[in-house]
Symmetry: C2
Subunit: 190 residues, 2 copies
């Protein structure tokens, strides 16, 4: 998506070869009109595949997922993070180990909001190592729902997320794919 | 807002005199079309007052705030929760004590995204005791920005949030005001 690539070039900040800051329009401050365009673009890619719900991970996936769900006219379900394990039989639960942030958290989903009848599009802001997405898919599959794919705004293609998801049979659609980064330098993959 | 009151009557769950569950359309599963209508309604109420930014508190305020910001054509800024205090001179920071959840957390705002030139509309899903909103206002005022008001989806009018904010000079606009609750019973205030 050219619009997003241009925005990243203009307002993104490649801190080093791993860290891209997009906190002026995606993460901390959010550009709602751009977010709506991005949601529409993800929705268009997956339209006509019988998607019944859009799911995302709390909390930076909420904005793109809400706009995608709006365009697809389906509900959005937020997979909730909890700091510690509380046993609850009304929830699906899975532990996520974040190597990036060196923390553990519990990802939860109320059993009410996902069933075997659902065909779920997962949406998030970033795909890097695929840790969060893998956990989200594991959680969604506990409900026996099927996964339509993963839509993300920005993919760090030099990290193994896409390969990891592909090996689980998940199609990944990214609006901007970054092939390489250095301080103040970003290379996109077409 | 009649649409929201009807939705609360239909799909909300008054657990007892204090707890209202709206997790099927606001908190956990989100109805994007309803959220857009609610965002437009809040935007209409505050339109023409020179609002430059919509701010909200991570994470259940993100959906209504994004839709309000979209309608007002201004950026949304997410006040971020952090579990512990990390000193950072690029951030405004304030500690929030949640009596409801019996936890402490740090609310943070990057100095880049709010200045004395900003006139900020705060948006959240619920107003009850006003703890989170009070902390958000304290944080926003550190930047010397001015506050246009607080827009919320649901106000528990039997709790002191509105009075607390009024005493700080903050106008509160709520789409649905609940005067009284009991198990399976909800009374709205017009």
């Amino acid at each position: 998506m050219k619009l997003l690539e241009e925005k990243i070039r203009q307002d993104g900040n490649a801190v080093n070869e791993h860290i891209l800051k997009v906190d002026s329009f995606i993460n901390h401050q959010v550009d709602p009109a751009l977010m709506q365009e991005m949601g529409k673009e993800i929705a268009e890619h997956f339209r006509g595949r019988g998607i019944t719900k859009v799911a995302t991970i709390e909390s930076s996936g909420i904005s793109p997922a809400l706009m995608t769900a709006l365009a697809l006219e389906v509900p959005m379900v937020i997979l909730k993070k909890q700091p510690s394990k509380i046993l609850n039989q009304d929830l699906y639960q899975t532990v996520v180990t974040s190597f990036t942030k060196e923390t553990n958290y519990e990802l939860t989903l109320s059993k009410k909001f996902m069933t075997a009848e659902d065909h779920v599009l997962l949406v998030d802001d970033f795909l890097a190592n695929g840790e969060a997405a893998t956990a989200a898919i594991r959680l969604i599959r506990m409900s026996h729902a099927t996964i339509a794919g993963l839509g993300v705004l920005i993919e760090k293609s030099f990290q193994p997320g896409r390969e990891k998801l592909k090996s689980q049979g998940i199609e990944v659609y990214a609006l901007a794919r970054i092939g390489k980064m250095e301080e103040n330098y970003i290379e996109f993959i077409d």
